[in-house]
Symmetry: C2
Subunit: 418 residues, 2 copies
């Protein structure tokens, strides 16, 4: 009977009694003080980011920038004029296209991004191997020119369908679209070609989306869908102390419902898995305009770190635009491999890493962006050694709200990020 009673009590109190480390938590006011000082040092240190021009690199790099629609239009018109002169002078019709192959990519540790070097290839019309690609390039340029005149946005899929006969498959029109960005020296968003939206944002942020003012503290639990076209996003205002970048939906929903951003003023953003271009641009814009530190909450597995790296230093595919797409100095808050033992994540909530996971982890250890952060190397080494991974959701084993009520507050209090 005594045993039964004990069991019943343990059962009803289980959620609170089993929340390890809760006793370490200071008051919210004390944690807020810690965050305020972090936020202010962070904004002063990032106020003057390095650019490629500040460095004396041995090879020249090619970078694109945001151009206005009218500048894109002029750039296309001058290019066509130049081509016409070329043809009239008897030199034939050819484009000079920056190479985007991996041999032309470079990781620059000073700016912590992958960038494109300056190798170019000639794409002549009068050659059997390049006549199709040259034609596609001309067609894409003409379509972009139409977008400039109409001032509308379209998706890559729309673009493909305007001339299926020529493009044959979407990979071809997509690739040439990136070529055109490089050729014109502008970002893909400047071309008004957008990718489908995926990300959501909630918390202490006010911004304008296509002229409408959006208050992200008043977006309920669903949050605001991140607009696909960053050029119509503006007027960002915030009293947040940091941006919390969350890998997955489930954790985002937990934090949105608990209105975590009201306890610790922050902006919560997620791309629901792999970062899409719109979310990357949105994060970058928040970092630049609001000068807030960015803390990342990802799964403790190689893909979590890989996602962090795409936000932080870019993907090889779009290295020509890494300056606009990457957000420097993202801190790895959690779930880190060392957290598994530190927070006593139960064995059954840890998953064994597959062969592929371990290979990906080892490959990451060779990447420059990991190497330059000794803390990350240590964590990743631990992951590969223990061969264990864990999702953010593993924290639910201590109760559904352990993430928002204990884990994150304690992380913030202890400034436990790398």
């Amino acid at each position: 009977m005594a045993d039964k009673k004990k069991r019943r009590r343990a059962y009803s109190d289980s959620e609170d009694a089993s929340q390890p480390f809760k006793h370490l938590l200071k008051s919210d006011d004390q944690i807020l003080q810690i965050l305020k000082s972090f936020s202010s040092t962070s904004s002063s240190s990032t106020s003057k980011p390095l650019t490629l021009a500040d460095l004396s690199l041995s090879s020249t790099c090619r970078e694109v920038s945001d151009l206005s629609l009218s500048s894109v239009q002029s750039a296309i018109e001058s290019l066509v004029l130049q081509l016409t002169h070329q043809i009239l002078s008897g030199q034939g019709f050819s484009f000079t296209v920056p190479s985007r192959s991996s041999s032309n990519q470079l990781y620059v540790p000073e700016v912590d991004r992958i960038v494109l070097k300056d190798k170019c290839t000639i794409r002549p019309f009068a050659h059997i191997s390049s006549v199709r690609k040259t034609t596609i390039t001309a067609r894409i340029l003409s379509l972009i020119h139409q977008l400039c005149l109409k001032n509308i946005h379209v998706t890559k899929r729309d673009l493909f369908y305007t001339d299926v006969k020529l493009f044959q498959d979407q990979l071809q029109s997509d690739a040439v679209l990136d070529d055109v960005s490089c050729m014109l020296g502008c970002t893909r968003s400047s071309l008004n070609v957008i990718a489908a939206e995926k990300g959501v944002v909630v918390g202490r942020l006010i911004f304008s989306d296509n002229g409408d003012m959006i208050d992200c503290t008043k977006m309920g639990m669903g949050g605001k869908a991140i607009p696909p076209n960053i050029d119509r996003v503006g007027d960002m205002q915030s009293d947040a102390l940091f941006v919390l970048l969350v890998e997955k939906d489930a954790a985002y929903i937990r934090l949105a419902e608990d209105r975590f951003y009201n306890r610790f003023p922050c902006i919560i953003v997620t791309a629901k898995g792999q970062p899409d271009v719109a979310t990357r641009l949105f994060l970058k814009k928040m970092k630049t305009e609001l000068k807030l530190p960015v803390l990342a909450l990802v799964d403790s597995d190689p893909y979590g770190l890989k996602i962090l790296s795409v936000y932080g230093c870019g993907s090889k595919n779009m290295s020509y635009d890494s300056a606009n797409l990457t957000t420097p100095d993202i801190k790895w808050l959690g779930i880190r491999p060392s957290d598994l033992d530190k927070y006593n994540i139960p064995e059954q909530c840890r998953l064994p890493m597959t062969e592929q996971d371990i290979k990906t982890g080892k490959d990451l250890l060779e990447e420059e962006f990991v190497k330059k952060n000794p803390g990350w190397v240590e964590e990743l080494n631990l992951m590969v050694k223990t061969k264990q991974k864990a999702e953010i959701q593993a924290l639910s084993s201590f109760g559904f709200q352990y993430l928002s009520e204990v884990y994150l507050p304690l992380k913030l209090q202890q400034q436990d990020w790398l």
Copy 2:
């Protein structure tokens, strides 16, 4: 030279000159009149939907309904009390669980939904084959009870991670969760267990999300993310004449940017592909509260029709909750197989159907929900005969804005839906 001039003119005017059927368009005011009369007949005809109770069915059906959190809590407590009596009286410990196997499913044409019949199975604790499942059921009931006490929402993934050792994999906890819904006679959303959000909404709709009022005309181009928890959605107001249900992102973005909802008052919603539970519940709520007709814009392929059918009459997996999840009387606006010729979609924008596509199409022809709509049967027969499919994006071959400027207005003007 003359030829050159002609080509140049054709080039610059191409977008407008090549927009077939634009000359058929009446003025927006005339189209609005058509929509208004459609919208009013639609709201009066659906004002008294049939329920299963209105029918004299040979077999009894099991349906769940939305219950308040406190009712769910009481239901769990009475169930446990009943089990205790059972055990004390020496009958042992067992759950009576409604069967969700396909032999227990029924399509009811009168209400146009798949429903669950009333077969049940006994799940005894004292049997080797069911001891685990019985334990899992008890554990899930206890977790749901905690959610009721705390009044929070969690995802299915969270639920799984609270006891990985017992559940072993998420399929097991997910399946028992559906069992528990059936046992308690309530919807899964009543249990406060939610799926990740996916859908977005934009247009002439105002609603409250977790206490915040959201005006969907002021959500820019990104729109509002549909909240994962329908029970915190309320106060819907709208001056729209119809709901436009869009299968995919790209078309949604086009319509949002063009603010199509201001030209023809409507609410535009998409689940970005396969319909998720949150979007289905949201659509249903709009239909019920606002009494608006729903027009669907999907790809012209078997999956487009399948998606339409999930919105319309439910999925087999959640047939116990079809009354809450399905939106009756969705009209198939386009892209319909007959539109391919009618709108002169160029051959190169049509795709050949694969063997699998054709099989899926033929299977659909056997489904009751298709059979009962002769127009749909005709369209589907045409698709299977021509072996051609097309995406919504195929309309981009007539210019990026052909969808919003010609195709949809003409469809509305001609009341061309089935």
